[in-house]
């Protein structure tokens, strides 16, 4: 799992480096709000990167961290859990302000079981997700995305953490750090 994350990070870094030196690129960072169907609010941060180098900005690479620690577990007894994601999306209408996208994410999920007596429960898992949604670029250097994702790997009561649910919705608001 760590290898997958490391590889994704390396690919993003190389892409960014190459884009900076050769082609125009867009790097946006922002906040992410995530709601799992019949489970928690998990919020966090995210980044979105694209470049002419990535098929004329049709491909976006992304990275995010969302946790119930910044959502449901902040105000209640929800299980504290973290999601680290890397992914790639294909953007349709990439030259327009209003875009549609579909992509694939992978990453790492961890649920904090807090006490030794619950160590017997599975608390780590790889993430594998399909995601689709809408992406809108404002006239000023801000973009937003609204999407629905499906966790292909989800809790089964035996080997996969029980709070890894199949469907979630997310809303992100990004600020372009290299655009005015």
């Amino acid at each position: 799992m760590r290898k997958t994350l490391f590889t994704a990070f390396v690919i993003m870094s190389i892409s960014l480096l190459k884009a900076q030196t050769a082609t125009p690129y867009e790097l946006a960072v922002g906040l992410r709000v995530q709601k799992t169907e019949q489970l928690y609010w998990e919020n966090g941060v995210g980044a979105d990167f694209t470049s002419d180098f990535l098929l004329h900005k049709k491909i976006h690479l992304k990275l995010s961290y969302a946790s119930s620690r910044l959502g449901s577990a902040m105000i209640g007894n929800a299980v504290r859990q973290d999601n680290v994601l890397v992914g790639a999306d294909w953007h349709f209408r990439s030259d327009k302000d209003f875009q549609l996208f579909a992509g694939l994410n992978t990453g790492f999920f961890h649920a904090d079981m807090e006490l030794p007596q619950f160590d017997v429960l599975p608390h780590n898992s790889m993430l594998l997700q399909l995601e689709t949604g809408l992406f809108y670029k404002f006239k000023f250097p801000v973009a937003t995305s609204l999407s629905v994702a499906y966790n292909v790997i989800n809790g089964d009561g035996v080997n996969i953490p029980g709070t890894l649910f199949p469907v979630y919705y997310q809303l992100s608001v990004f600020y372009y750090i290299n655009k005015k």
Binding site: E37, Q38, L39, S72, G76, N77, A78, V79, A111, M113, E114, L115, Q117, F118, V120, L121, N154, G155, D156, G157, V158, P161, G162, T163, L164, F165, P166, V167
Partner: protein, 314 residues
């Protein structure tokens, strides 16, 4: 041309709607779903409910611990028969096996029941036993029986003059192991119902078919209970709670036990007790009707029964 397209779309829609919410074929009389076997007949109720099989308790019986046992989704009183047999052997406590509303009757009766109907059998028996003057009332809930009891606590059902002494939860469900059920609101009308495989010995004691309407009720109940636990639920003064949970469970996700631990507090703010069991059975205290029971599984069941007994009789 346009008209043809509209006709085609309408035909597809008609076929789709006709295929929605299909019903199972109920032609096997040995199935509980058929309606010929009924746990809701007076004979059965009189045998299982303490308020019925002991209508005039003696003062000594009123001081004996009694435990009201609530079974799980699609099950019947059969799920607690072995605790009843254990109690009969020991003679130290009495058992009342409630049949949840809509259960143990027929597919059609089950289909139209709500989780509030399921719960009403527990509340009615509790009121009956309180009225008769039983002093030491305990509750036990297996699987879906557990959130039904937790909901009673959360809603302050228990009155100060008749508080339960303790609550036992066996393999409680707060999160289903089958995560696809979280989408039952969307997929339910297309599926209509789910079918469950069961051992020969379980036939006639559980519904084979799970109507999507009741799956929605189940999901509504456990989602509500999860949210209530997130907010925090306090036990009544003097009431204890112990949870027994299989480490692996393909029906009620074991994380349910952790959620109850985090969400439930004693009246003074202390933690409740949770014991994770080395088992892969759902409701490990019910072994009758299963195939290939091991000595370890039998020992675990007896250990749980003995623990419950010692807590009720100490």
């Amino acid at each position: 041309m346009k008209k043809n397209k509209i006709y085609i779309i309408l035909s597809f829609l008609a076929v789709f709607l006709a295929a929605c919410n299909p019903s199972p074929s109920l032609d096997d009389k040995t199935m509980l779903d058929y309606g010929q076997i009924s746990y809701a007949l007076p004979d059965s109720l009189n045998k299982h409910l303490l308020s019925a099989y002991l209508p005039n308790p003696t003062p000594s019986q009123l001081n004996t611990p009694v435990i009201i046992c609530a079974h799980g989704y699609t099950a019947t009183t059969f799920e607690w028969d072995e605790l009843r047999a254990y109690a009969n052997t020991k003679g130290t406590f009495l058992v009342s096996q409630v049949l949840l509303g809509g259960h143990g009757r027929s597919y059609q009766e089950f289909k139209k029941s709500s989780w509030e109907d399921w719960q009403s059998s527990i509340t009615e028996e509790y009121q009956q036993l309180s009225k008769k003057g039983y002093k030491k009332i305990y509750l036990a809930g297996s699987s879906t029986g557990a959130p039904l009891i937790v909901n009673m606590i959360k809603n302050n059902f228990f009155k100060p003059d008749s508080l339960p002494k303790g609550v036992f939860l066996v393999d409680p469900i707060i999160v289903s192991s089958n995560k696809t059920l979280t989408l039952v609101g969307l997929l339910g009308p297309i599926l209509g119902y789910l079918t469950v495989d069961m051992a020969a010995g379980e036939k006639g004691h559980w519904y084979v078919y799970r109507p999507q309407e009741t799956l929605k009720e189940l999901m509504a109940l456990i989602d509500l209970t999860r949210i209530d636990l997130e907010k925090g639920i306090y036990l009544p003064v003097g009431t204890t709670m112990k949870v027994y949970k299989s480490e692996k469970d393909e029906t009620a996700d074991p994380v349910s036990a952790f959620m109850i631990y985090k969400g439930m507090r004693t009246s003074s703010g202390g933690n409740i007790e949770v014991e994770m069991e080395s088992s892969n059975l759902h409701v490990f205290t019910r072994l009758e009707g299963r195939d290939n029971i091991t000595a370890e599984q039998r020992a675990l069941q007896q250990k749980a029964f003995a623990d419950m007994e010692s807590r009720m009789t100490k």
